[in-house]
Symmetry: C3
Subunit: 323 residues, 3 copies
């Protein structure tokens, strides 16, 4: 027998109940992806749990994860019950402290470029996402990460860190590689960021460090009537992938909204020093797409992305839903 | 702290909220199975999510999957978040379009024989289920399948297809075996069916094709007072399993209901050409069982099945629940 | 879109609906664990489903499992849909019968020592938990277990059993090792227990047997004003782990509650006969901790445990939540 859940909180509010709650929400999508060679069907359905409560002294607390993020036995690094997916938090007048698979301070302040298409960029490998050095799945070999956020007037401060220990205890994954001296899995991965919000624009600066590698990130976004524009520049130092060193990521995104229609685009460039006198290489990615809001949680969306990472032009078209 | 969900939609309706919703339902069962040698305990509990919404223009959309169908990391072919379990759909005056692990057009029109026992046939390997050539998990190496359904007056039309591409892109499983020429994993698997519903009886015809293999299916069901009877005949061509060729499946099921009691039975025959002059072989399966409705979602049920597939007679007895 | 679920059953009650329901609840925790060498972050979030219904004749039935207990493809022995995690039950005037990953009769009657710390003992390997011989995951190679509970006046009776069959049928895990004569996986694992509840104290006696191994358990608990004290003694016979034979586990736990504060401690000793003239060995474990109830489902908790099993002193400190 089906259970209908309330879509509004009105009745709960009037009842004056301050008790802890579990909200169940979901999303879905269906459509077609052109992968550069063929057109393929692509769909998905997901459910998310959002747990919220409040202590007697007014401290808020909560947690959130999706069903597909709970892979207790299949993947210890994608399990909310192990602290390696989703997050738990407490928040009050002193700010908000989260623990789990949280984003880094830099990512919390700056974020990514605009998502395009009904698969929200996945059809092109999510090239709209900035590859921040720490957090957001990067350091889960050390178990849960923490993120602290505090806002005073127009300024927000962010700090995030791993615990610098890859050794496991009973419910925390982590292979014991302590024997490997100076292994990055034994180095605290941390990040600090600040953001100024001026109403119709914001600007943010972030820093992150993990072992020898470091990251300096700058981001800003502005809205003028129906236009939005966002720029991100991330400079990496000593971030190696084999012999190749990632030097920087630069990105620009813009959007125009007219009633139900939103047109979005982005450009991104990544530069690598190939090492050993092999010179440099630049990867450019371009994307353009449109969303049409059908109301009630349904959006018709499509996008085209050309990226040097795939060495191809790919596209998607479909509908996405929020429940 | 437990949350009690509403079992009726009355209050939601009066509130006039048309917003998207997530309904949580479940099922369970407990009892004993005689596997031909021993009696064993068998139980299970499952939870299902049904997501529904409606666009401003009155287009319905939704999705559904169970918790045990989300194995994101353990099994890419049994994951609603990858489109290989559960389904997403949109529907309106033009019909209903579903994508995911959908049944084929033939199966949508004709279905299976009657389920027997508290494990609903599982205690005998689900021999009441017809092995349709396409859809319902058969073609998930190509990612999600689609199913289109449209009803006008007494006639329903069905069409289903895979995309004919086993190459994976970012969230679609599928090993790239393009090198294997004429591999069935690169052939579109499709099915077409039509059904006439005359009120207390229906008759349906289906066709399916995947590579060289094809399937022609016929089904009909009728109800006379407390009696129901259903017949299915499926003729396969070039459907090989090694050297053996599956020639046909024929099945007949009947049920009699008197108040809370339902008595059900089925017979099924499968014929195989063993190839290489080894002659033919027929597999017969018989089943009989009874359900007693205890009310409130609980049913006491038991069944006995004798099948050449197991070369044994097996039985179950227990209770099954709907929540 | 988030769905808010009702935290009270008041409205459901007034509606007089007796239909089956699915309740969604959850828990979370975040804090730090000192594992004897390093301090590490540890967090988790979990969601639990509780399914309940009632037949027309007033028979109650239900089921319960957590999202992280459904690992259908990753671990057949931790899957509610296979009967190897969570449980299904029916209950009425004749008692309650549960099937699935249930505890043994002994554990149902006696239970464990008091849990300490925000990770509820997990930071020290759950040494507060008694290792009962049967049930609670011990015999899942035989599929689901059963537990029967019946209370008349002050006395409760308990009986539990596995089915003595490790052979699998279609949805029950179990490797077929029938060839191994006298394998414990082919022996019924059963337990019987009785408990007398005198209001502010109870005493219980349990017995369990699996193959050659047997267990005799005694437990009692009493409350005096703000004090609670609990004692457990479990005597094992022929319970071997390689050459070593587990002889007994003795445990004592005490708690003192003053308003929101609860202080808890336990001591436990396990004795092993190392066999082959190697003599005996005793393992002692001590724990002390405190919980401070913040209200609304949040508890600040910390603990210190010194145990010979880890040959170390470990500690935790954090907050735990109920939603």
């Amino acid at each position: 027998m089906k259970k209908v859940l309330f879509a509004t909180s009105a009745l709960v509010m009037t009842a004056g109940v301050a008790a802890a709650e579990v909200a169940v929400s979901g999303d879905g999508r269906m459509g077609m992806v052109y992968d550069g060679n063929d057109v393929q069907f692509s769909s998905r359905a997901r459910v998310k749990f959002t747990l919220t409560g409040e202590s007697d002294a007014g401290l808020s607390f909560g947690a959130a994860f999706r069903v597909d993020q709970e892979n207790y036995n299949a993947n210890a690094y994608r399990s909310a019950a192990r602290g390696t997916a989703g997050a738990v938090w407490i928040s009050g007048t002193y700010g908000k402290l989260s623990m789990g698979d949280v984003v880094s301070a830099s990512e919390a302040a700056i974020g990514d470029l605009y998502e395009i298409g009904y698969t929200e960029g996945t059809f092109a490998g999510d090239v709209e996402e900035i590859s921040y050095l720490t957090g957001d799945g990067e350091n889960l070999d050390q178990g849960p990460n923490i993120l602290y956020e505090y806002t005073v007037n127009n300024i927000s401060f962010y700090a995030s860190a791993s615990d610098g220990q890859d050794t496991s205890w009973f419910t925390t994954p982590g292979a014991d590689v302590d024997d490997a001296l100076n292994a990055s899995s034994d180095d605290v991965a941390y990040s600090l960021a600040a953001k100024y919000d001026g109403g119709n624009f914001w600007a943010a600066l972030g820093y992150a460090k993990h072992g020898d590698a470091s990251e300096l990130s700058l981001g800003a976004e502005a809205q003028f009537n129906q236009f939005s524009v966002k720029g991100i520049y991330v400079d990496y130092s000593d971030r190696f992938n084999g012999a190749a060193e990632w030097e920087y990521t630069a990105g620009l995104a813009a959007a125009y909204q007219a009633d139900a229609l939103t047109v979005k685009g982005f450009w991104r460039q990544d530069k690598y020093d190939l090492g050993a006198g092999a010179g440099n290489e630049k990867y450019d990615s371009f994307g353009i797409g449109a969303d049409y809001d059908l109301g009630g949680g349904a959006v018709l969306a499509g996008g085209i992305i050309d990226t040097d990472y795939l060495d191809d032009t790919v596209a998607d078209l479909g509908v996405k839903f929020k429940f």
